[in-house]
Symmetry: C2
DNA sequence: TTGTAAGCGTTATCAC
DNA sequence: GTGATAACGCTTACAA
């Protein structure tokens, strides 16, 4: 391994001078020496050692991308189209700015804190945090934290999210405007707060604004995978007065749709469906899914921008960015 | 930050002793001292500093997960269902064994080597490497390297892959057995070697074994995204004698299918299609896709197992694991 | 413009 | 059983 000392030895200068050149402190070194050192660095193939740097500088250039949804070991991990998009965008932009991405699953706040200190992590990305989860931890963290799709009032924390409430308000209203009155709602478990709760509230409000009484029996909470959605479809079939379904994810909509179709229901003739996300899938299924569009790459991109700004000491103007959504009309809804 | 020295001070012992306790060298320390130190570690919240450890031990516990398919900046990054599955499985298992996952894009061998030395990386995962790409680099690397879906003869490198050749041989033969003679082949760019090339060869061989002359005009190379697949669909429509299509990816099959259907073609009546991968999507589209199944989570899982074995000094018995594929019959193929 | 020396947190060697 | 001490590669006062 080639070290700074090796470069120093070869060029006949001190380690300090080499370090100065590496860090571009050209004013402290003669042009001639700079030249000499740079060429030695090239020919010897010197590569800075981040461990050493981290140790002395208390900055590791490591950014953590935290996964706190514990993958169920017994079950196949569902492929999440957001995940690969985010990872790629985060890594790409961070890399351009000299940072490194560590992907890490944590199950508890304590694990998180330990991880941070183990590596002297410089910054943290989190997705889908909501009230109380990691709350204490988050507030004690001294490094930049950027949340994605999170609902938590933390002054020291930044967030980029979506008009979740509006999104489902829009999709529900869209259905209402087309004559639907008995509209079911399918989503994963509705927590006390968070993305799903917001979307649910949007659904409720749209109902309310149209003077449609809320019916708890029409709220179908379920996992989003293929098998779980079979049950949702079954329930839906029994709810024969229901003519439309609002969902909080295209994946879920698609999974429900296959089962509905297999059960002899026709979409949108028997039941209209609107999704959420507008992932690639939504154009691929039959009928193509009317859905709420969100710009996932943009979300990732803005999140890194925020991170980079904090990292480089230019506090972003807003601690919160809320992206708008829009409804994409395709063919899974009919007017009645 | 709590250091080993702090623990030493508080407990009235030397840093060496603390280190010994941390590393479970209980024989070198009295039970009493062990107790004392452990409790101090707990109450003070000591967390080992990996940078310091790495520096002195030349082992970082960092495993690199290398992405060498440069995301096109101008284009939205396609969501890759493999990616999230792999990342999750790799991270989960590595974590259980005390390792950390860094995700990193490299564009050149040099970048790769630099990355390795920057962090003293302990092991490397790579997907989709084929002949000559990173060849020199890979052979010079002294740490465990596990490849996924790669075709490269490197003695020092391990690989877990698929029966790619058999997979497409099977899907092509399946079509032939059902009376098809004019069978097109759609895939991303066919390189000199690699997964796609193997699958292409399987297709060719099946044709050959059935004495069907190979027709270059039926080979449709294209990007796999929605828009690119429009062109494939258009070509297919012009090739009016073609009754079936073999593809190397479900995503591609699905994208081609939508355009075919939009163009008035009926699947499988006008054209039969078989996919590859058996991702969740294949059951969601209409008609459900007949495809070649592969066990993606298993692939990831075996790859980590190999890595862990190498890391822990139990060289795996095989340097290559080839998973089998099987054809899943659904409804995108008809007999003629 | 360049160099010396101390120190970051940890581990290994060797002595007691 | 326990503890000095040096060393890992690098940066930063502070000197010269």
């Amino acid at each position: 391994m080639v070290t700074i000392k090796d470069i120093a030895k070869v060029t006949g200068v001190s380690a300090t001078t080499v370090s100065n050149v590496i860090h571009g402190r050209a004013n402290r070194v003669s042009a001639e020496t700079v030249e000499k050192i740079n060429s030695a660095i090239k020919t010897l193939g010197y590569v800075p050692n981040m461990s050493a740097r981290t140790l002395v500088s208390n900055s590791s250039k490591v950014i953590g991308y935290i996964n706190h949804t514990i993958p169920k070991k017994t079950q196949n991990i569902i492929d999440d189209p957001f995940h690969s998009i985010f990872t790629n965008i985060l890594e790409q932009k961070l890399r351009e700015h000299g940072y490194y991405l560590m992907y890490r699953t944590v199950e508890t706040s304590e694990e998180l804190l330990t991880f941070l200190r183990t590596w002297n992590v410089d910054g943290l990305f989190f997705t889908g945090v909501f009230k109380d989860t990691f709350f204490e931890a988050l507030s004690s963290i001294q490094i930049p934290v950027v949340l994605i799709d999170s609902y938590t009032e933390q002054l020291n924390v930044f967030n980029v999210g979506l008009e979740d409430y509006n999104g489902c308000y829009t999709s529900t209203k869209y259905l209402i405007d087309r004559g639907h009155r008995n509209i079911a709602f399918a989503s994963p478990s509705i927590k006390e707060s968070g993305v799903v709760k917001e979307r649910f509230d949007g659904y409720c409000q749209a109902l309310c604004d149209a003077s449609i009484p809320f019916d708890k029996a029409l709220v179908l909470e379920s996992e989003m995978d293929y098998d779980s959605c079979k049950a949702v479809s079954d329930k839906l079939c029994k709810l024969s007065h229901v003519t439309a379904l609002v969902t909080t994810a295209d994946i879920m909509a698609a999974n429900i749709m296959v089962h509905l179709k297999a059960g002899g229901k026709s979409i949108p003739d028997d039941i209209s469906i609107v999704g959420f996300d507008d992932i690639a899938l939504s154009r691929l299924i039959t009928p193509p899914l009317t859905t709420i569009h969100q710009d996932i790459p943009l979300k990732g991109s803005l999140a890194v921008d925020m991170m980079l700004q904090k990292l480089e000491g230019n506090p972003p103007r807003h601690s919160q960015i809320i992206l708008s959504t829009k409804l994409i009309e395709r063919e899974s809804v009919r007017s009645i």
